[in-house]
């Protein structure tokens, strides 16, 4: 390994470790709430209401919604982690620690996205463990399950990064999760199969990227999906490439971080 590569690898690991240490340090704000919220989802939607709904897609309602709930927790946490961490770094000016150091912009982006992905996956694991108290989960396609959850976390971590670059107040990092991310998640087939919707709304749902993530992930776990898997991966790859390019463009331009 040449010295530059070694230096960059140390810098990336340092940033990743700092990000992980940050969300572990404030675990009552980062890890506990999703565990409690998702437990409530399982109790209310899965157990109380689900028992009256019966089966969906050939599975008990609890089993059907479990992958969606896990994915919802992953994408929310991946997004929020990067948005709040990067914005806080801007707000407290300690982003300057990174900007004065010999770290290329792509590594700054990679470090934050990896940190957000790590939190998303850890929360996903916690919610999966919680779900095992309520239902039986047997993973049908391990590669699809893992790759989809990782790619989804990366995609939303990138989204959180772009949000934080533009944000100029703490309000602005909660607007997108509240008004865009949450509605898209709820309408992304977490709690229902889109086959239950009228045709028009089924077609509208196809414009929601979260639908592809939830369904591909559900396919990995249950072997059941409303949409084809290959297009789901293609869409997510395209989104990741687009968001990465845009985030790097903003970083190189210095938007929101350099005068």
């Amino acid at each position: 390994m040449n010295s530059k590569l070694r230096r960059h690898s140390v810098a990336f690991n340092t940033l990743l470790i700092r990000e992980i240490r940050r969300f572990l340090r404030i675990w009552p704000q980062t890890l506990l709430p999703p565990a409690i919220t998702m437990t409530l989802y399982f109790i209310i939607f899965g157990n109380l209401i689900g028992s009256r709904i019966g089966q969906m897609g050939g599975f008990s309602y609890m089993q059907y919604i479990a992958p969606g709930i896990i994915m919802m927790a992953v994408i929310n946490n991946a997004y929020t982690n990067v948005a709040s961490s990067f914005y806080s770094a801007k707000f407290q000016s300690h982003i300057e620690e990174l900007l004065v150091a010999p770290i290329p912009n792509y590594l700054i982006l990679a470090g934050y996205v990896a940190g957000g992905t790590a939190r998303g996956l850890l929360v996903g694991l916690i919610v999966t463990i919680v779900s095992l108290f309520f239902t039986h989960i047997a993973i049908q396609h391990i590669f699809i399950t893992i790759s989809m959850v990782v790619l989804s976390a990366i995609m939303f971590a990138l989204g959180g990064f772009i949000n934080a670059i533009y944000a100029s107040s703490f309000d602005e990092i909660s607007i997108i999760p509240t008004f865009i991310l949450t509605p898209l998640t709820y309408l992304g087939g977490v709690f229902y199969s889109i086959s239950l919707l009228p045709e028009f709304w089924q077609n509208v749902s196809l414009f929601n990227p979260i639908l592809y993530m939830v369904n591909a992930f559900r396919f990995g776990m249950l072997g059941e999906s409303d949409i084809a898997i290959i297009p789901a991966f293609a869409i997510i790859f395209i989104c990741i490439i687009g968001l990465t390019s845009f985030a790097l463009y903003l970083l190189n331009k210095g938007t929101g971080i350099r005068n």
Binding site: K4, R6, R7, H8, V10, A11, N13, T14, L15, I17, R18, R21, R25, S88, A89, Q92, S93, H94, E96, E97, L98, L99, V100, A101, P102, I103, P104, G254, R258, N259
Partner: protein, 307 residues
């Protein structure tokens, strides 16, 4: 070898404000250099450009012969920055701030920890190593910023008002520390509003005003240019009615205080002879302002007059 070389550097902000209007500056390796100027003169913009926090409009900046446009990573690795405002994560532990910063410069965890421990001892922060940075006193926070800037062993240390708001005892201990690292070979660029600090520490000086360098010379020759000094004398008894100091500018501030302006070469002996002749007993004597301060004000006023 030049530690820093700036040529025709300009910066115009998006709102049209021209912060730098084509400055040229060079700092020799090993120098202790003062960059002075009134508020808004362009000091922080200059430092921001050198350290990549501000994008320049035009001009070139070379750090140890490395153009920041050609190899910004190499240029950055030479520099340690102590900014004006506290800019660390107050929730992080003191030692983590140092180890993390070293990591950003590519220093692996083990040597980073050793270096951090060394600096924590040197700067009197060892006892606080596991405390969150926000719990430190103002002086300790300043020292933490110096430790963080030095953690990767930079060749060029830039301090932007490092002693602002620091009590005199701590300020003097920081001066000693800075003198020590300068004597060990680290080039230092200092901006400060305490001109006594610049006069005590720095060998060369540049004064910037409204985006232009109005003076760039060595401290000794600048101070030699001072053609007059003003002294404040505390007098034991009220001055007699017939009191006068021929050929000397003076005025009494009150019954017991006299302000006297002496031209260079006049010497204090003449003054004291005149005072003794008139039975005026002096309790104490001090400079009205420090020597650099008088020159600084004169240069900035001159620059104002030409605008």
């Amino acid at each position: 070898m030049k530690a820093l070389q700036i040529e025709n550097l300009t910066k115009t902000y998006r709102n049209g404000f021209s912060a730098l209007k084509g400055i040229n500056l060079s700092v020799e390796q090993g120098d202790f250099f003062a960059l002075l100027g009134p508020n808004g003169a362009g000091k922080s913009t200059t430092i921001g450009i050198i350290t990549s926090l501000v994008t320049k409009s035009s001009g070139t900046v070379k750090v140890y012969n490395t153009n920041i446009d050609d190899d910004s990573d190499a240029a950055k690795s030479y520099i340690g920055l102590v900014p004006q405002e506290f800019n660390f994560n107050g929730f992080e532990k003191v030692k983590h701030i140092l180890i993390t910063q070293a990591g950003y410069y590519g220093m692996p965890a083990k040597p980073a920890e050793v270096r951090a421990d060394e600096l924590l001892h040197q700067l009197g922060l060892w006892e606080k190593r596991d405390s969150p940075a926000r719990s430190l006193s103002g002086g300790m926070k300043r020292r933490l910023m110096i430790a963080r800037a030095l953690v990767h062993n930079p060749k060029l240390l830039i301090l932007d008002e490092p002693t602002a708001g620091v009590d005199i005892e701590l300020r003097r201990s920081m001066w000693l520390f800075l003198k020590q690292i300068n004597s060990q070979g680290t080039t230092i660029i200092l901006t400060t509003h305490y001109l006594e600090e610049a006069e005590n520490l720095c060998r060369n000086i540049a004064i910037i005003d409204r985006g232009l360098i109005v003076e760039n010379t060595n401290m000794k020759s600048l101070l030699n240019r001072l053609d007059k000094e003003t002294f404040i004398l505390d007098i034991k008894m009220p001055l007699p009615a017939s009191f006068s100091l021929p050929h000397i500018n003076y005025h009494s501030i009150d019954d017991h205080t006299l302000e006297v302006e002496l031209k260079q070469g006049d010497g204090l002996n003449t003054l004291f002879s005149l005072l003794s002749e008139q039975k005026v007993e002096v309790c104490s004597l001090k400079n009205k302002a420090n020597r650099l301060e008088e020159l600084f004000l004169a240069l900035v006023e001159k620059s104002d007059a030409t605008l």
